[in-house]
């Protein structure tokens, strides 16, 4: 069995599965480095023509002209095919060893806890389509399969492929480290003892945050029981005690004023326009006075986008099943936080932290120009008034 296992829950790959996964990574890299620039050239050329005609190159106008281009049609088809292949490679690998993974979940150290709600109703924005084209999405749990860790295993296996290993390798924890760097720089007085991550998926960010704040009791919230079952076992095998709760970020059901830090990591763009103010209000309710809210998002803002950025974002929105991608990158987080009652509000680009940050090396990482994917993240953070 050729793969190196970074933690016991990570599905192992056979010789052929590793070859298949390497192929997916190579194909996605080819598309990103060869095909995306070609579509960029074509799109920017079309935008110039539109501007020359005295019109604004809006997404609608760009799309109308691109849809007739064979290059654009091929681009959409091949990106989708590569993404579907990626999930299939992860699904096949996980399904082959499903019973072993379930046994590993049962034998995981008794660290942390898991609370699932059989009556939980998944928000419509997640149930309507499988986000990222992942079969079953974040939430699917087959009825009667109370030991399933499948969605978590598929997500974890694919996550490093999805980002081509650029989000912290197989631990996939760069976003968690980046949030810690932000906290160290902007809220240096924060010494959290109770932390909540909304939309924690398999807990990859939460493990990183917990290790940086070892005195804190950390809770992860997400919509899928299978995802959380895997997350609890993954953390426990890594020696980290985390509590996981099934629920929605809009109404967690957790007690008010019960956390010093509430954060999310690339979750808001998976929600909706209506959900955003509700999530902000829920963060406010959950925080104790003086507590901190942090939301990390993709390094992209609609108001800064060129014509190609819009077309790329449109692909994510329409074809990669991220219906709120565009909406989230247009949202005014400063206003939303203010309206929810927060003060000391910050919003801007944060340099990515590649490993556990140290407090004396984080100065100036926030408020930087956007350096692009996996080098920067967009962060909105705020404090609940002390009184």
């Amino acid at each position: 069995m050729p793969a190196v296992r970074i933690h016991p829950m990570m599905p192992l790959s056979t010789h052929d599965e590793a070859a298949e996964q390497s192929f997916v990574v190579a194909l996605k890299t080819f598309l990103a480095t060869q095909f995306d620039p070609a579509v960029r050239r074509t799109t920017l050329g079309i935008a110039e023509q539109i501007s020359a005609a005295g019109e604004k190159p809006t997404l609608q106008r760009l799309r109308k002209r691109l849809e007739g281009r064979q290059l654009y049609q091929n681009w959409i088809s091949s990106l989708r095919a590569a993404q579907e292949l990626m999930w299939q490679a992860a699904v096949d690998c996980v399904d082959r060893q499903r019973s072993e993974l379930e046994a590993l979940e049962r034998s995981a150290p008794k660290l942390g806890s898991l609370h699932v709600d059989p009556g939980f109703e998944v928000p419509r924005y997640l149930a309507a389509g499988d986000v990222h084209m992942m079969p079953g999405g974040y939430y699917y749990d087959p009825p009667g399969d109370e030991h399933s860790v499948r969605q978590g295993a598929v997500f974890d296996k694919a996550a490093s492929l999805y980002s081509l290993g650029r989000q912290g390798g197989q631990m996939n924890d760069m976003r968690g480290q980046t949030i810690v760097a932000h906290l160290y720089e902007i809220y240096p007085d924060l010494q959290p003892t109770r932390i909540l991550e909304m939309g924690c998926t398999v807990g990859n960010s939460l493990v990183a945050v917990a290790r940086n704040f070892p005195a804190a009791k950390c809770t992860g919230l997400d919509v899928g029981a299978s995802l959380l079952r895997y997350a609890r076992a993954r953390a426990a095998h890594l020696g980290v005690a985390l509590d996981f709760v099934q629920g929605s970020a809009e109404a967690t059901g957790l007690p008010e004023a019960s956390f010093d830090l509430v954060y999310s990591s690339a979750m808001l763009h998976e929600t909706s326009h209506k959900a955003l103010p509700r999530i902000m209000a829920e963060c406010y309710r959950l925080l104790r006075p003086g507590g901190i809210m942090v939301h990390l998002e993709v390094p992209f803002r609609a108001e800064m986008a060129d014509a190609y950025d819009l077309v790329r974002a449109d692909f994510e929105t329409r074809y990669n099943n991220e219906p709120f991608w565009m909406g989230a990158t247009e949202a005014d987080y400063v206003r939303l936080a203010r309206e929810a009652g927060f003060i000391d509000i910050h919003a801007g680009f944060q340099d990515a932290a590649l490993g556990p940050p140290s407090r004396d090396q984080v100065k100036g990482m926030f408020g930087q120009p956007n350096k692009g994917g996996y080098k920067s993240w967009y962060i909105a953070s705020a404090r609940k008034p002390r009184q």
Partner: protein, 113 residues
């Protein structure tokens, strides 16, 4: 494409296909289907090529060549690099016609309507 496949739970269609796959305007659904099939086939060829590579290297080292020894073969860094080069060449070759559409789009003809 595993040499050894163990029976598991029957596949659940919710696990095989994702929900909500919209038709892309301008994209011929038949071409879209073929694109998926060609990419999947290329993936299988790539896996087969690596399996053949393992056969050749085990044979050259006068090691036994069985389904199990091929499954257990771990490519070292040099072998991984050699395989990456072959993979890259295959992808560039098969995808070349897709990118050739870029040149067509720049031949001055307006295909935007």
């Amino acid at each position: 494409m595993n040499a050894t496949v163990r029976p598991g739970k029957p596949p659940d269609h919710r696990y095989r296909l994702h929900r909500h796959r919209i038709k892309a305007p301008g994209v011929d659904p038949r071409v879209d289907t073929l694109m998926g099939m060609v990419m999947s086939l290329l993936s299988e060829v790539s896996v087969l090529r690596e399996r053949l590579d393992a056969h050749e290297r085990l044979g050259a080292a006068q090691q036994p060549v069985t389904p199990e020894t091929v499954d257990d073969y771990v490519p070292d860094e040099a072998v991984q690099q050699a395989r990456a080069a072959i993979r890259q060449r295959m992808i560039e070759k098969v995808c070349r016609p897709l990118l050739a559409a870029d040149a067509k789009d720049h031949d001055g003809q307006d295909r935007s309507t």
